[in-house]
Symmetry: C2
Subunit: 194 residues, 2 copies
């Protein structure tokens, strides 16, 4: 018995659910995969999937080992309002990517999206639902989804250039220089007339 | 005999050089690969490699099937000066990426850079030499290489978001909207105080 009092075999069951979830998301996409199908593949009751992982979104975050949970970070970024939002976004982004082991599963997701249209669709559906959907609902600006797309384009490119391709000097300038340089771009995408 | 009067077997020789070049660049990187080694692997005289492909940079462009030739496009973008440079860059970028079959080998290069450090090093060395080197030599601004890095980060991210991940509405807005929205970012990275 574990110190949390969980049943033996519980971690095996959770692992089976995570494996089934990865397979279902990859095959059917984020929108197409259902908790019911994932439960059936894992050989458990759907209620147990909800018990362990909550929503489909949380199950995706766990199965794909995302380095952040959009349900937590997006509202906390948006809560203080539009003022300084660009800077808060870039600072959080840099702090996540400065831990390379945490982002390596996410790099795998990006690589998959470059290789297979199915993987691209899965990632597109997830970011649209979990990220753009939240931003669009909360931002009081015109064209909120287009603005969120533009922000994503700069952040993905920064991840690639600084952390994957590692072009110099961008790869080795202090995080605060990245924040100071890129935050105005993000702020403009979010709030300036487009 | 072909209509250009070339010897039979010439295209076979060129193909052997391109194959040898790809292998050498992948193995030794862009900086480490030499025309001499490539010629030896292809079983031809180094002079023949120069005759067919010119410089090592041109050989790389041909071997990797890049959708653009930096030796041509960078000077032509820079020639009219800093004024409107951001807009010229984004307009050219969008026109290249709007031809999906032309960029698919380049997507392969980006994917390789996400998979193997050797591939990342090769691409990093090439863009540093062929792109950042030219921009840095020609731009009369402070921190020219850092500015070129920032431009690259936004362009790579736009490629990923609009053309690979295809998030909406960014994937389907008219090219001119992308130009109008992103050009000020590029112009700021190139010329504003950082």
């Amino acid at each position: 018995m574990g110190r949390t009092g969980r049943r033996p075999g519980e971690s095996g069951t959770q692992q089976a659910i995570l494996d089934a979830a990865r397979a279902a998301f990859t095959e059917a996409g984020y929108d197409g995969a259902t908790m019911r199908t994932i439960a059936r593949t894992a050989g458990v009751d759907p209620a147990l999937v909800h018990h362990y992982f909550g929503t489909k979104e949380h199950l995706f975050v766990a199965a794909m080992q995302l380095p952040f949970d959009p349900a937590l970070i997006i509202p906390s970024l948006l809560a203080p309002g539009l003022d300084g939002l660009g800077e808060r976004i870039v600072r959080l982004f840099v702090s996540i990517w400065d831990a390379p082991e945490a982002v390596s599963p996410f790099i795998g997701l990006l690589r998959g999206a470059m290789t297979h249209e199915k993987s691209a669709a899965m990632l597109r559906e997830f970011v649209t639902s979990a990220i753009f959907g939240r931003v669009t609902a909360a931002l009081d600006v015109d064209q909120p989804q287009f603005r969120a797309n533009l922000v994503a384009s700069q952040l993905i490119g920064m991840a690639f250039a600084r952390y994957i391709l590692r072009i110099e000097p961008l790869a080795t300038v202090p995080s605060e220089k990245v924040v100071a340089t890129v935050a105005p771009t993000i702020q403009r995408y979010l709030t300036a007339p487009l």
